[in-house]
């Protein structure tokens, strides 16, 4: 199964994305390291959810080309803003099977900027950072 693909025609996610990403950026840093013109979908198992200041991180294991899991780091917004949006320390739990849409790192390393996620319970969560100005 292809677990990593470019969203060439993000029809199903398009409306959700527009609704979730219109707000301004609350980040303290530049987003120049992310390719914000590009969105990729990654599916895998949550290893760790870092519910921390100044930004949250989701550590997720994704099957690589050889099928072996590789760890990715996905950066989200600040916990204070996400908490106000309804996020909790348990929004992502180790072992959860989730689908994440991210702006990948320009460097090609395994990481990116969180755009939104489809959680194990079927809910979708977004992130105010999705349209951050660089």
């Amino acid at each position: 199964m292809n677990s990593l693909k470019t969203l060439a025609a993000p029809m199903a996610f398009g409306a959700v994305l527009a609704a979730l990403s219109a707000a301004p950026a609350p980040a303290h840093h530049s987003f120049a390291m992310f390719d914000r013109d590009k969105q990729i979908t990654i599916k895998g198992t949550v290893k760790e959810f870092q519910w921390t200041n100044p930004h949250v991180f989701i550590q997720i294991m994704i099957p690589g080309a050889d099928g072996k899991p590789q760890e990715w780091s996905v950066e989200g917004g600040p916990p204070n803003m996400l908490f106000r949006q309804g996020w909790e320390p348990t929004t992502f739990k180790p072992g959860d099977q989730v689908t994440l849409v991210i702006n990948p790192l320009k460097s090609g390393e395994r990481g990116g900027n969180f755009v939104f996620a489809n959680l194990a319970n079927g809910k979708t969560v977004g992130n105010l950072n999705a349209r951050a100005p660089g």
Partner: protein, 240 residues
């Protein structure tokens, strides 16, 4: 009667207990959230160049920052290095802040970078260290129901927003803050900075009162996986 009042006053002085304060001319107390984005010039749409009356030197400085950003090497922004955004940029903070108004000092408690401003009302601010600081030295006065804050001794390392809109060491910031309605506040922020701007430059921002909202603690250095390199670019620390 007089004796008992005197005794109470003496006890209060000894215990530093708070005597009832005279009512402030306007009720700013509470938590507020900005209505505009983080870009400084609220008079233009995001993505449009700011309507700034630059001096030639600072116009060139700004252009240099824009070019660096375009080349993928943006200049280091103090908040990216976990430094305070500074006055007046902190009034464009993406996070809420809380006003606490007392007779002698108005406190503004910001969630962003856990900053505190003290505005000394009707007199002199305590003498500064002779060292420009991110929040500077602020005095305030009430003009009717408008709080007028003047801030000097500001750190010229600050910029006004993520596009690196500059200020100089000559900056004086004048904020005129008033209520537009019970839960709507307006700040007219004028930059008087003859080195950077040829004339005073006023920007208007509004804020909405958030009853029941709390100020959370934002600590930039706790799990900061985005270190800023010597060239000013922001990094990303991946899996160990």
């Amino acid at each position: 009667m007089i004796r008992s009042l005197l005794t109470t006053a003496a006890a209060c002085a000894a215990l530093a207990c708070a005597l009832p304060a005279a009512a402030a001319p306007a009720d700013f107390n509470g938590v507020w959230s900005g209505d505009q984005g983080v870009l400084w010039d609220t008079s233009v749409k995001p993505g449009q160049p700011p309507n700034a009356p630059f001096t030639p030197e600072y116009k060139a400085k700004y252009q240099e920052a824009l070019d660096a950003s375009k080349a993928g090497k943006p200049k280091a922004d103090p908040p990216a290095m976990c430094l305070p955004p500074g006055v007046p940029r902190i009034m464009a903070s993406p996070f809420p802040f809380e006003f606490v108004v007392t007779d002698k000092v108005v406190y503004i408690l910001y969630e962003y970078m856990s900053q505190v401003r003290r505005i000394y009302i009707g007199g002199e601010a305590p003498r500064g260290m002779g060292l420009p600081t991110f929040n500077g030295r602020s005095t305030g006065k009430w003009e009717g129901d408008t709080l007028v804050i003047e801030t000097t001794e500001l750190n010229p390392m600050s910029v006004l927003d993520t596009t690196h809109l500059p200020v100089s060491d000559a900056l004086k910031s004048v904020e005129r803050i008033k209520l537009l309605g019970p839960d709507k506040m307006q700040a007219e922020i004028t930059l008087i900075d003859p080195k950077a701007y040829t004339k005073p430059w006023t920007t208007v921002r509004t804020y909405t009162r958030k009853p029941g909202e709390q100020i959370l603690q934002y600590v930039c250095e706790e799990n900061n996986r985005n270190p800023v390199g010597e060239d000013g670019s922001t990094g990303f620390v991946g899996p160990k």
